[in-house]
C-alpha cells in the first residue's frame, strides 16, 4: 500500500499539470494511466497535430506539449503507474483506498480524476461472441512474439502496429495473412515497402479491401471469414488472430464510483473542482459545470484550484498561504531553483 498526498488518474496534459500545482504546494502525487506512456489523447490521438490555444505558446503539438509538461514536473520525481487502470475507490475514514487493475493500491486523502473521455481500450472487430476467443488465440497486442512461432497468423489492420508485427512475426511464422479494409496503409512507408517485399516472397498473403465477417471455432478461432465491399467472401485457416484496430476511449469503472455524472462527465463544484464526494476531484475534459469548455487551458485552471483544496485535506494542521512562484523561496526549493 502506497501512502501519498494525492493520486492522479490520467496522465494527459491536465493530469501532468496537476502534478505541478500539487508539487509547488509541497504535495507529492502518484499518477496512474492505462496507456504505456504519459500524454493521454495528446500522445495517443494527435502527437503531430498543431495546437494553437495554449497561452504563451503560439503553436505546439500534442507531443511537444507533453514533453514540456514532463520537463516542468521533473523536479517532483513523480511516480507513474502505467499500463493500468484504476478499478476501485473505497472510502476509509477521511482517506480513499485506490486500487488498480495491476493490484497497485494507494491510501490518499485526495484523488484527482483527470481522465479525459475515459481510458484507452483496444477497439474490437464487430463480431458477436468475440470475447470467448480473447482467452485463447485472439490478441490486441503482442506480449511474447515467440509464442507465435511456426503458426498461421491472421493480422488485421493497416497502421504501424499491424504492419510492424506482420513484418516481425513473418520471420518465424508459417504464414502471415494481413487483412486491411483498403489499399492504402497508415503505417510508415518503409514498413509498407518491407511488407510488400515479403508479400512478393510469399511470406505474407495480403488481403486489401476486406473486413472481418466472422471468426469460426469453438474454444479458439480456427478460421476467419472475411468479406470485401463487393461481398466477396474468403475463409482463412488460422492458429492465432491479431487485431490492430487502434484504441478507443471508455469511461470504464468511473461510472461505478457513486459520483454525480452528467452525460459521461463528472459534475464538480467550481470553487475547488470537488465532485459529490469529499476528497475526489475531477479536472479537464472529464468534469462538467455551467459554461464548461473542453479545452486544455481550462483544465490547467481547474487543477490549480483543486490543488488548494487538496492541500487543506493533506495538511489539515498547516495554514495554507498563497504564494507566487516568482518570489516564494519555499516554491523555489521545491523546484530545485538555486
Amino acid at each position: 500500500m502506497i501512502k501519498t498526498d494525492a493520486v492522479i488518474i490520467g496522465a494527459g496534459p491536465v493530469g501532468l499539470f496537476t502534478v505541478f500545482e500539487l508539487g509547488i504546494l509541497g504535495l507529492n502525487a502518484h499518477v496512474v494511466d492505462n496507456l504505456d506512456k504519459a500524454g493521454g489523447q495528446c500522445i495517443e490521438l494527435y502527437p503531430d497535430k498543431p495546437i494553437y490555444d495554449i497561452p504563451a505558446l503560439p503553436i505546439c503539438t500534442g507531443e511537444s506539449l507533453t514533453n514540456n509538461l514532463l520537463e516542468q514536473i521533473k523536479p517532483f520525481n513523480t511516480s507513474f503507474h502505467l499500463n493500468q487502470r484504476v478499478n476501485s475507490l473505497q472510502k476509509k475514514g477521511d482517506k480513499w483506498i485506490v486500487e488498480t487493475s495491476e493490484k497497485t493500491t494507494f491510501e490518499t486523502p485526495n484523488v484527482i480524476i483527470a481522465g479525459g473521455v475515459g481510458s484507452f481500450e483496444p477497439r474490437k472487430p464487430p463480431i458477436k461472441g468475440i470475447e470467448n476467443f480473447e482467452k485463447s488465440n485472439l490478441f490486441y497486442s503482442v506480449k511474447n512474439k515467440n509464442s507465435f512461432s511456426n503458426q498461421n497468423i491472421c493480422i488485421f489492420g493497416g497502421g504501424d502496429s499491424a504492419l510492424d508485427w506482420a513484418v516481425e512475426l513473418s520471420k518465424n511464422a508459417k504464414k502471415i495473412s494481413l487483412i486491411h479494409r483498403r489499399n492504402e496503409f497508415r503505417a510508415a512507408q518503409h514498413t509498407v515497402d518491407k511488407m510488400m517485399k515479403l508479400k512478393d516472397e510469399g511470406k505474407i498473403d495480403l488481403y486489401t479491401g476486406f473486413q472481418p465477417k466472422d471468426f469460426v471455432g469453438k474454444e479458439k478461432i480456427e478460421k476467419v471469414v472475411i468479406e470485401s465491399d463487393q461481398k466477396e467472401v474468403k475463409e482463412i485457416n488460422t492458429d492465432s488472430v491479431l487485431a490492430f484496430f487502434g484504441l478507443k476511449m471508455e469511461l470504464g469503472p468511473i461510472v461505478n464510483w457513486g459520483l454525480n455524472l452528467d452525460n459521461k462527465t463528472i459534475v464538480v463544484d467550481t470553487k475547488n473542482f470537488e465532485t459529490s464526494e469529499k476528497g475526489i476531484f475531477a479536472v479537464g475534459d472529464i468534469c462538467t459545470y455551467p459554461g464548461k469548455l473542453k479545452l486544455i487551458l481550462c483544465g490547467f485552471h481547474e487543477c490549480a484550484l483543486a490543488a488548494q483544496e487538496c492541500f487543506k485535506r493533506a495538511r489539515p494542521d498547516e495554514k495554507y498561504v498563497f504564494r507566487f512562484t516568482t518570489s516564494s523561496s519555499d516554491i523555489h526549493k521545491r523546484l530545485g531553483v538555486k
Binding site: 477497439r123 479494409r181 484496430f245
Partner: protein, 106 residues
C-alpha cells in the same frame, strides 16, 4: 438553415435544422441525438462520429481527406458510404441530407 435527418440504428429518425457552417457531428451533439459520440471533439482524431451517408447525397459531399480515410480504419463496421460526420460542414447544397448511424461507435 440546412435540415439534417439522423436515423438511429434502431430506426428512430430525428430531423433538425442546423446552422450553416456547422458539421453534421455538431448538429447531432447540439440536438442531443444519441449515437454520435465525438470523443475527440471534432479534430478528426477518433472515429466516433461515424455515419453512413444516404446514397443520394454522396456526390454532394466534400472530398474525403487522407486524415479522414485513415481515421475511418478505426470505425465500427465501415461501408462504402461511411464518413466521419465531423468532417462534413453543412451548407445549402446539403439541405435535407440524410445520415444513418452505426450500431455503435468504436
Amino acid at each position: 438553415m440546412p435540415k439534417v435527418t439522423y436515423i438511429e440504428f434502431n430506426g428512430t429518425e430525428h430531423s433538425v435544422e442546423v446552422d450553416k457552417g456547422l458539421t453534421i457531428m455538431e448538429g447531432a451533439v447540439q440536438n442531443n441525438i444519441p449515437g454520435i459520440d465525438a470523443d475527440c471533439g471534432g479534430s478528426c482524431a477518433c472515429a466516433t462520429c461515424h455515419v453512413y451517408v444516404d446514397d443520394d447525397w454522396l456526390d454532394k459531399l466534400p472530398e474525403q481527406s487522407d486524415a479522414e480515410k485513415d481515421m475511418l480504419d478505426f470505425a465500427f463496421e465501415t461501408k462504402p458510404n461511411s464518413r466521419l460526420s465531423c468532417q462534413i460542414f453543412l451548407d445549402e447544397n446539403l439541405d435535407g441530407v440524410v445520415v444513418s448511424l452505426p450500431e455503435k461507435q468504436g
